[in-house]
Structure formats: structure tokens, C-alpha cells
């Protein structure tokens, strides 16, 4: 198991390096003069020269890359062009907001998706199955930015049930400890504020959860159906075991291996989807941070945002790989 984990960890190295190369090239692959592109056509030659120097764009490419790599490894993500702040110092609150949102969304997606898939497979071709699968089909086909807009229109504008925008009410602030607001409000014992944060979280989390939930439900169903048709399930039935027990205790563990893969992949999709959701709901996460940077052509921020999200995605998949080892006893011997 340990050897397996170390091996997986070592396999991450080329992927992480490749990732930095791609992120690094975002600035350098821009046709023409990057500084010109960043500053726009009205920029003075001095300003361009200055930016070139400050970004190190006047040095040979490989030197620039290694400088960049060294910076990233030492936690230096560069400075924002908009406000000249060090990106590393301002990125955590954004990241925390995205983690909170994604985590909530994934929780919704897994709990509902897995159960819907199990019941669909168990009661194959029943009304429940049909309804679940139609809902799932609509879910995978959903443009989540559209769903977000409709949610806002119905639940905020028309019904006035939920706040339409932001992570907190404008009038109240949460004193940041970890910057994960749900945790912070609980740590401070501010249950009213906790509830306020939850209310803000519901709509974006549901919007973000839609596609993964649908995909997980479909995957669970097909994976479950395959397991339920296997020889060892027949063995369990031949023992005289109850179907409910077979499904939840016995088959789920087998079926969960491909489901886990999907959950890992969907986490990445969600981190990407966050850019749409956060834009719509004004959620101050890393997606909105990147979106604003794109609008302002703040390339160092774009780079760093993408780097952080991709890094998180890789780490999630790494954890998923390790979880395989826990579920599947055969994996240790591979």
C-alpha cells in the first residue's frame, strides 16, 4: 500500500511539471508582444518596457520558465497587474470560498446521485427508475449558467426566499479565521450568521451540483447494474441473502470503484464550473477572481488562478487513487 502510494505520488511529478509549462505558456503563447496585448494598444513604449522587465519577458524563454518554476515552488505567484498586490497573499480567501462551494455541491451531488443511481438500478425499468433517469438526463444537459439565472429569478426575485448574490449579506461580515465561512461562524458560535451563510450557499451549490449529480446517478446506475448481474451476486442470492442487503452492503462496495473515479473527475469539472456559477452568483471564489482578471487582462492572476485550480484537481484525483487501494484489495498487488 505504501509503495503504491509513493508510486502514485511520483507519477504526479511529470503531470505537475507539465501543468506549470502549460500555465507558464499562457502569457508566452499570446501572439505578438505579450506586454502590448496586456496593456492594450494605447500603452506607451515605456510602460511596455517596464512590464517586460517586471515580468522578465526580456530574458530567454527557458530562463523565464525556470524563474517561474522557482517562484511557484517558493510560493511566489507573482503580482496582480490591477492592484500590484502579491497574488499569493490574496488568493486564500478566494480559494476558501470556492472550496466551501464545491464541497457543498459535491456533498449534494454524491448523496442524491449515488442513492438515485442505486434505486434506479435496483428497481430497473420501474417508474422510479424512469423518473430518476429523465431527471438525470436533463441534469447532464443543463447549461448551469442558465439554471443559475433561473434560480435567481424564481427564488430571489419572484419568491424572495433566498439571497441572490454574494457569500454573505452586504450588511454583515464574518470575521475570517479559516475563511471557510461555515466553519468560521460555527467556531465563533454565531449560529444566526451560520444560517445566513447557508442560505447564501444553497442556490450556487445546487446549480454547481446539477451536472455532477446527474452524471454520478447515471454512472452509479450502470455500474450497479453490472455488479448486480455478476456471478458473485448470484452466489449471494444462492445463500439466501436479502436483496436490500445485497444491494447496499454487498454490491455497493464493488460498484463504488468506478463511481469513485467519476466523483474525482467531476470534482475537477466542478472546479471549472465554479467560474460560471461564481460569476452569476457573485460568489467571491477563485472562479470569480479569474473571471475578473480575464476582464482586466490581468494575466498573472489568470495564470495563478488556473494553476491553483488545476493543482487542486490533481490532488483530488490523487486522493481518489489512494481510496481505490482502500476499497479494492486487489490493487495492492498491482
Amino acid at each position: 500500500m505504501l509503495s503504491y502510494s509513493i508510486k502514485r505520488l511520483l507519477m504526479l511529478v511529470p503531470v505537475l511539471l507539465g501543468m506549470t509549462i502549460i500555465v507558464f505558456s499562457i502569457i508566452h503563447a499570446i501572439p505578438g508582444n505579450p506586454a502590448q496585448t496586456i496593456l492594450g494598444t494605447k500603452a506607451t513604449p515605456e510602460a511596455i518596457h517596464h512590464l517586460n522587465a517586471s515580468l522578465g519577458l526580456d530574458k530567454p524563454l527557458y530562463v523565464q520558465y525556470f524563474t517561474y518554476l522557482k517562484d511557484v515552488l517558493t510560493g511566489n505567484l507573482g503580482t496582480s497587474i490591477q492592484d500590484n498586490n502579491a497574488i499569493a497573499s490574496e488568493i486564500w480567501p478566494h480559494l476558501a470560498a470556492t472550496i466551501e462551494l464545491s464541497f457543498a455541491a459535491m456533498l449534494i451531488a454524491v448523496i442524491i446521485g449515488v442513492n438515485a443511481g442505486i434505486i434506479s438500478a435496483w428497481k430497473k425499468n420501474s417508474v422510479v427508475d424512469y423518473i430518476a433517469m429523465i431527471v438525470a438526463l436533463i441534469g447532464v444537459s443543463m447549461p448551469i449558467f442558465w439554471l443559475g439565472l433561473l434560480e435567481q429569478w424564481i427564488f430571489s426575485v419572484k419568491l424572495n426566499w433566498l439571497p441572490s448574490i454574494g457569500q454573505t449579506d452586504i450588511t454583515s461580515t464574518v470575521a475570517p479565521i479559516t475563511n471557510l465561512y461555515l466553519v468560521d461562524t460555527l467556531l465563533e458560535g454565531q449560529f444566526g450568521q451560520f444560517w445566513m451563510v447557508v442560505r447564501h450557499l444553497i442556490m450556487p451549490a445546487v446549480a454547481l451540483a446539477t451536472i455532477p449529480m446527474a452524471i454520478i446517478a447515471r454512472m452509479t446506475r450502470s455500474s450497479m447494474l453490472e455488479v448486480l448481474g455478476s456471478d458473485y451476486i448470484r452466489t449471494a442470492k444462492a445463500k439466501g441473502q436479502r436483496m436490500g442487503w445485497i444491494v447496499y452492503k454487498y454490491a455497493l462496495k464493488n460498484a463504488f470503484i468506478p463511481i469513485l473515479t467519476v466523483i474525482g473527475l467531476q470534482t475537477g469539472l466542478m472546479l471549472g464550473g465554479a467560474i460560471l456559477t461564481e460569476t452569476i452568483f457573485g460568489w467571491p471564489g477563485i472562479g470569480l477572481y479569474v473571471y475578473n482578471a480575464i476582464q482586466a487582462r490581468d494575466y498573472p492572476v489568470i495564470q495563478s488562478g488556473i494553476l491553483i485550480i488545476a493543482f487542486m484537481f490533481i490532488m483530488v484525483n490523487f486522493i481518489v487513487d489512494l481510496l481505490y487501494g482502500l476499497i479494492d484489495p486487489r490493487i495492492k498487488y498491482r
Partner: protein, 323 residues
């Protein structure tokens, strides 16, 4: 026939597919006596496995269905029993082992978990008692290192060992009938000999009746007392193993026996049955074997013969008058 523990009469099982109803088992009757070993022989698609799944109530749902006949277990018809009732019999009175030992055990649970589960289902025992019983069972089926084995996963075991574990699971509640569906087909010859030996031993020691389903006439000849030969969802011949091998009545049985190469003497040319096994439902009229039969007569193509005879029965017009 009062000592028969399981009596199947006129059982018909069909599969309902997109192309309509396909009869897989078409009116078969046989019985298993207490403590005997009955062989059911036939080639692929003859309905022998479907018969066993029908008895166990394990037909694939919803395609497979028993559409007629009775399965009497200890005098009670179990062919349309409620699932909850059937569960009490399964694994307890009726147990089953399958062809593929590699896939019949759940890969993500230990041998111990899977074995004690079977024990726990039909008995009230403490954890310790369950464990003791599991160890006892593993010893019964001739597996060494029983205590350690309980903590191992199926992939750490060889095919032969897994089949022994499957037998241990099946024997866990001292079943009255053990249905073994091609239990040695996936195994090598020397391992097959071990497993057959074990099954004979268990039959003698525990008096569990065994219904041995196989395509291998050699296995039947060595293990069984009585034999049922199936072809196209019907029983074509039934009788004592010696009668069947020495004086086969049905041309199909005769052809099967003649087409096996002999281990001890070399024949110049093998006998072979012409054509191939028909798809279920493809022959609508007459004896199903007629298109492949060397002795085919006109009426074979029109009418289906009855299974007739006393003791040694056959379903062939050549032997109808012997009844």
C-alpha cells in the same frame, strides 16, 4: 418414489426477449432421491443450467420465467414461492455452486466475511461460533491454513481453492440438495479430480443429495448413479448410469458417447453427429434431434416422441414400443 427429496414435474421455463418467448426448458420431469448423485448431461443451450436456476428461484429477472409445471421440495411446490419464503430455503435446504470459481466470489470481501455470512443467515450463532464453524467448514473441504484463509481475499487463492471455498459456503447449513452447475469445467484435470473426489466424500459423509450438471460424460460416468440426458430443453434419456453408457437408446446419447476420443485405444476416425446444436426455439415441429439424427424417420419430423420406458427411459420413436 416416496424417498425422493426434490421432484420436478413437467417444468417449463421460458425467456422473454425482444423476439418473443423462447422456451429454454420444455416440460422436463425428474426426481432426486435423498443422498443420491444425479447427473444432468447436455451440451450448451440444452437447458440444463436453466433447470438448476429454476429450482433455486434464481432465474434472471424479468426475462426468465417458470411458465408451467411444479418443483416439489419435501412435498411442497416451490416453483412459485414468495421471494421471502424462497430465501429461507436457499442456502439452507438448497445450495448451489457454479462453474466459474474465479467470478463467483466477491472480490472485495474476505473469504471469512463471505463464509460467515452464509452461516449467519440461517443460524443464530455468536461471532465466535460462526468463526469456529467457518474454520470447520474450510477443513471439511480440505483447505489447509483455515484460520489464515479467513482473512484472505479471493484473488489470493487459486481456482481450485476458490471452488473449495464455494463448496464450503454451499455446505455451511448442511443442505439437503446441492446443485453443482459445471463445478469442474473451468478447472484443470488434476484439480478437477480433487474437486470430484471432495464432492463424492461430502456426499457419503453428509448424505447431501447432489445434482451434478455437466457436459462431460467422463465426469458423469465416474461420479453419478443416475443420469438425465438433455437436448433442446427436453430430457431425451434417463436411467442408470451403466445402462446409459452400455446401452444408450437415444441416438443423441449414442452419438455423444461415440464421438468422444478414447484415452486407451486409438480409433481411426471418430464418429461425429452432423450439424450443430439448434438455437432454442428454432425447430418448431417434430423431434428436435431429427435434423441431426442418423436414424431419422418421416414421423420424427412431424411428431414429438414421448419419454417412455421403465427405469431406463428414452424419448425416441425407435424405442416407443418397449414401454
Amino acid at each position: 418414489m416416496s424417498d425422493s427429496i426434490l421432484e420436478v414435474s413437467n417444468l417449463r421455463t421460458s425467456f422473454f426477449t425482444d423476439d418473443g418467448e423462447v422456451p429454454a426448458v420444455d416440460g422436463i420431469s425428474f426426481s432426486i432421491k435423498e443422498g443420491e448423485i444425479l447427473g444432468v448431461v447436455g451440451e450448451s443451450g440444452c437447458g440444463k443450467s436453466v433447470t438448476s436456476l429454476s429450482i433455486m428461484g434464481l432465474l434472471p429477472h424479468p426475462q426468465g420465467k417458470i411458465v408451467g409445471g411444479q418443483i416439489m421440495y419435501e412435498g411442497k411446490d416451490i416453483s412459485h414461492l414468495k421471494e421471502a419464503e424462497m430465501r429461507k430455503l436457499r442456502g439452507n435446504d438448497l445450495a448451489m455452486i457454479f462453474q466459474e470459481p474465479m467470478t463467483s466470489l466477491n472480490p472485495v470481501f474476505t473469504i471469512g466475511e463471505q463464509l460467515t455470512e452464509a452461516i449467519r443467515l440461517h443460524n443464530h450463532m455468536s461471532k465466535q461460533e460462526q468463526n469456529n464453524r467457518a474454520v470447520e467448514l474450510l477443513k471439511l473441504v480440505g483447505l489447509p491454513r483455515a484460520t489464515e484463509l479467513l482473512k484472505e481475499y479471493p484473488h489470493e487463492l487459486s481456482g481450485g481453492m476458490r471452488q473449495r471455498v464455494m463448496i464450503a459456503i454451499a455446505m455451511s447449513c448442511n443442505p439437503k440438495v446441492l446443485i453443482a452447475d459445471e463445478p469442474t469445467t473451468a478447472l484443470d484435470v488434476t484439480i478437477q479430480a480433487q474437486i470430484l473426489d471432495l464432492m463424492l466424500k461430502l456426499n457419503q459423509e453428509t448424505h447431501t443429495a447432489i445434482m451434478l450438471i455437466t457436459h462431460d460424460l467422463g465426469v458423469v460416468a465416474q461420479v453419478c448413479k443416475r443420469v438425465v440426458v438433455m437436448y433442446g430443453g427436453k430430457i431425451v434419456e434417463e436411467g442408470d448410469v451403466k445402462d446409459i453408457f452400455n446401452h444408450p437408446k437415444h441416438p443423441y446419447t449414442e452419438g455423444l458417447i461415440k464421438s468422444i476420443p478414447d484415452l486407451y485405444s486409438k480409433k481411426d476416425k471418430l464418429y461425429s453427429i452432423k450439424g450443430s446444436v439448434p438455437k432454442p426455439g428454432s425447430i418448431k415441429k417434430g423431434c428436435l434431434f431429427a435434423p441431426r439424427c442418423d436414424y431419422v424417420m418421416d414421423k420424427c419430423k412431424e411428431q414429438v416422441p414421448e419419454l417412455l420406458g421403465s427405469g431406463h427411459k428414452s424419448r425416441c420413436f425407435l424405442h416407443q414400443d418397449e414401454a
